[in-house]
Structure formats: C-alpha cells, structure tokens
C-alpha cells in the first residue's frame, strides 16, 4: 500500500505543472505579470489588459488544458474542438468565428457621439490621414523580410489604434500573432499621452497650436439618427469586407441616437460589451502561450512587432498633424492642426491629448470637442483600412 501511495504521488507530481514548466513559460508568465502591473497600477487600458494578461498567465501554467493550440491548426474541426477543447478553446470560438469584435463594436457604437463629426464633416479627412500609420507600417513590416504579407497586415493594423479592429483582422489573417499584436495595440493605446505630444510639438509652430477653433454648431437629433444609416450603406457598399465592424458600430450608434430602444442601447453598452470583453481578453491573452510561440525566430518577430507598433502610432500621429497643417493653411488659419493627431482613434485618449497640448499653448483653448471629430472618424477609418487589408490579403 505504501508503494501504491508513492506511485500515485509520483504520478501526480509528474503530471503537475512544476515538472513540466519550460523556460519560455516562465518568460511569458513574467511578461503577463508585468502587463497586470501596468494595467492595474498604471491604468494601461485595464478593461482589456487585465483579462488579456490573466489569460496569458493561465495559458502558460502547463497542463491546465484550458487551451490546446493544436486544435486550431488548419484544417479546423469544430467537432474535435467541442470534444477535446478546454474552457478557453470553447470561449475562443467567439474570436475565431469573428463574433466578439463586432459585438464590442456594437457597444462602442452605443457609447459614441458622432455629433462633433457631423457638425464638422471635414474631420473625416483627418481620420483618413492618420490611417497612413497603418499603410506606412505595412511597407516597413514587409521590408524587414521576416513576415508574410498577412502577418505584416496584422501588425500594421496596430497603427489603427483600435483594439477590437486589430484583434478582428489578426484573428483572420495571422492568428499565430494574435497575443503579441493585441498586447502591443492596447499598450500603445495606453501610451498615447506619452507618444503623441513630442511629435505634435515638433511638427507645429506655437502660433498654430494657439489657434482657437470656432464653436461647433449644434447637431439635430434627425442628423444623428441618419448618420449611422448612411455611413453603413456607403462603407459596406465600397468595402464589403469591413461590414461586420462598421455595420455593428453603426447599429449600436443607431440604438443610442434613435431614442426609442434605450433598453437595447443600455444592454449593448453594458452587459453585452462587458461579457464579451471578458471572453475576448481572456482568450486573446491565452493565445500567447509557449506552445504557440516557441517556433524559431519568434523572439525577433516579437521585438519587431514592438518596434513596428511604435512606428505605426508615430507615423499615424505625424500624418494626422501634417494633414491638419494642410487644413490650417486652406482654412486660412481656422483649423488647429493639433486635432489631426486625434485621427489615430484611441478614443477618447487621443482627443484628450489634443486638448492638453492645445491648452498648454493657449490656456483659453478648448480643442476637446473639435478633436472628437477626427477621433471617431479614425475608428471608421481604421475599420475601412482593416476591410481593405482583409480584402487584399485574406
């Protein structure tokens, strides 16, 4: 009996995580803990980074069987996933099937006020200009020569400064990079107040930054209701592959603005978005497990993603500001170029940065509302950009 006991304990011990943990697991666990620290103590986009980092943590504790990366190799058998999948595999179905990001966009749409954009439609140009961060980075990523076009496209979408869009595109083009790209996207979004100001100051004169913009006109309820319907029709007609993101974003906004379905708007913003955020974050984080990331050359790829993400944000910011300067010229000095940087999205952080930098140059300067226009335009812009990338590379 003693022997049996010893045997059983030995078997349990050999099945325990202690016996099976790898060096790479430890590295990834450490990274997960750093992200937990950043999310909780430094307030880096905690709503997503807490679940993502926790997912990364538990996926790297060996043998939990919570997620089995081998199930997701092509060709995928859903019957096999249902038979053998762990908890996180099953929740990950919502990512793989492209369900979670559009539903989060539904909630974001129900939280977004497009009023400033409708009042000043030219803002959309700034939201378009800032997407050059995406396409510029794509060229850079391809130039490195270590990424497939699909991977390069997924990395470049970090420059969209929009988490769900990045996750949605990456899960379709390069799911093997989902973890690192999501982490980079949300980290840089949190770092917007650090990254953007130096670029904005370097590219503008004090006189430009001091420009006080004209009060936006009030926008009627009818205009706000028509906006999501019209944008849906235009964008889906031009670039059908962006339909899941844009249509859901606009449906959420229609719920908010139409004023007759407050129940649905409220649930889309809260219960639904929160549930999906938990599942999305946890499973996206869990893809960053040692099982998946141990292929050769991954370290170099990871470093490149970090670098390229920074480039993407910087280029996007610069493009937005420079386009803002063009509009400053054409408008005869009525448009403050600082609102251009808000075009990268990162709602509402980037708009606040415009406000802060503008107010430093001129304490009477309230750019927040003017910057919200390019800011929400950037969300539409990067969804369109994601649609283009998916259409060409998918």
């Amino acid at each position: 009996m003693w022997q049996a006991f010893v045997n059983a304990i030995t078997k349990l011990a050999s099945e325990s995580g202690f016996a099976n943990i790898t060096y790479l697991n430890l590295v990834l666990i450490s990274i997960a803990l750093v992200f937990l620290y950043l999310a909780i103590v430094k307030n880096y986009e905690p709503l997503l980074l807490v679940p993502i980092a926790f997912g990364m943590l538990i996926a790297n504790l060996p043998l939990g069987g919570l997620m089995n990366p081998s199930l997701w190799d092509d060709p995928i058998s859903f019957e096999a996933i249902l038979h053998e999948g762990g908890l996180l595999d099953l929740l990950y179905l919502g990512v793989k099937l492209g369900i979670y990001p559009p539903l989060i966009f539904l909630g974001i749409g129900a939280m977004t006020d497009f009023g400033p954009l409708i009042a000043n439609p030219k803002s959309l140009l700034l939201g378009a200009a800032a997407q050059f961060g995406i396409f510029g980075t794509y060229i850079g990523a391809m130039a490195l020569g270590i990424f497939t076009p699909q991977q390069a496209g997924s990395i470049s979408i970090i420059g969209g400064a929009d988490g769900p869009t990045a996750i949605w595109l990456t899960s379709k083009l390069a799911p093997e990079l989902l973890g690192p790209i999501a982490l980079a996207a949300y980290s840089y979004m949190a770092l917007v107040p650090i990254i953007q100001p130096p670029i904005m100051k370097a590219l503008t004169t004090k006189k430009e930054r001091e420009v006080v913009m004209q009060q936006l006109r009030p926008v009627s309820k009818t205009e706000k209701i028509l906006f999501p319907i019209i944008v849906t029709i235009i964008v889906v007609l031009i670039i059908p592959s962006a339909a899941p993101l844009v249509a859901m974003l606009m449906l959420g906004n229609l719920f908010k603005e139409c004023g007759v379905v407050e129940r649905l708007s409220d649930t889309a913003q809260n219960a639904l978005t929160n549930i999906i955020t938990i599942f999305l974050g946890l499973t996206v984080g869990a893809t960053a497990s040692a099982d998946k990331l141990s292929q050769p050359g991954f370290g170099l790829q990871a470093l490149s993603i970090i670098l390229l993400g920074l480039i993407a944000f910087s280029v996007g910011t610069a493009a937005g500001v420079l386009f803002g300067k063009v509009m400053y010229k054409f408008s005869g000095g009525k448009i403050n170029p600082l609102i251009g940087s808000a075009g990268v999205s990162a709602v509402p952080m980037a708009a606040r940065v415009s406000q802060v930098v503008g107010q430093k140059a001129n304490p009477q300067n309230f750019l927040l509302m003017h910057a919200m226009g390019p800011n929400v335009a950037g969300v539409i812009g990067s969804a369109v950009a994601a649609g283009v990338l998916l259409s060409i590379l998918g």
Binding site: L125, G127, I139, A143, I234, E262, R352, L368, G381, V388
Partner: protein, 124 residues
C-alpha cells in the same frame, strides 16, 4: 516591396475615397434636414391643431426634428454642470473626466402594474 507599396497606396486611396464620400453625403443630408426643419418650423402652428384630432396615437411621436444636443436639460442644471466642468478644467488639463449627463430610461413593462393600478383605482 512593389506589392507592399501598391497595397499602401490602394489602401490610402480607398480610405480617403470612403471618407470623402461620407463627407459629401453628410453635407447633402444635413442640408436637406436643415431645409425641412426650416419649412416645418414655419408651418408648425398650423399643424398643431389638425394633428390633435387625428385619432388614437398610443405613444406620442418622438420629436425627432428638434435641434438639441442637450436632450432637454433645464438651464439651471446646465449652469451647475458648467460650473463643475469649469472648475475641473482650471485645475488640470489631463484628468478631465466629466460624468455623463443622462436621464435613466424607464422600461418597466406596463402590464406589470396592471393589477396594482386596478386595485388602487378602486379606492379613488
């Protein structure tokens, strides 16, 4: 690399094209809305009378034409909020976090209260 550059140019073009098209549509439809609103405002007094005799209308039609981004908040409330925001803006540029001004919607199903109402009415 040529492909990459190509994709970048196409992408930028499509993004700009889409957003410019949206700009055009916004300009057009906001102009139309403004035109209709102006016409409506003129004829609003006339219609008010004829509408009221129109028959059963269980829900009052939502007034979608009123141009207000403030959802009908009273001026006093706005004054209070304004002061709060102003105070906030003075002290800090970055920590700007204003709570939303919103009315909570009431979605209580009407047939929940039927039994109670009836009971209450009998006491009147």
């Amino acid at each position: 690399m040529k492909d990459a550059l190509n994709l970048a140019i196409i992408g930028t073009t499509v993004v700009f094209a889409s957003l410019v098209l949206i700009i055009i549509c916004i300009k057009i439809y906001t102009a139309i809305v403004a035109m209709i609103n102006n016409r409506n405002n003129k004829s609003i007094n006339k219609n008010n009378d004829s509408d009221s005799g129109k028959g059963i209308s269980v829900h009052s039609t939502t007034n979608v034409n009123s141009s207000s981004s403030l959802d009908g908040l009273s001026p006093e409330l706005i004054a209070v909020i304004t002061a709060a925001i102003a105070a906030c803006m003075d002290s800090s540029g970055a920590g700007l976090q204003v709570k939303s001004i919103k009315r909570i919607g009431h979605n209580t199903p009407i047939w929940n209260v039927a039994g109670r109402n009836e009971h209450i009415l009998s006491k009147i």
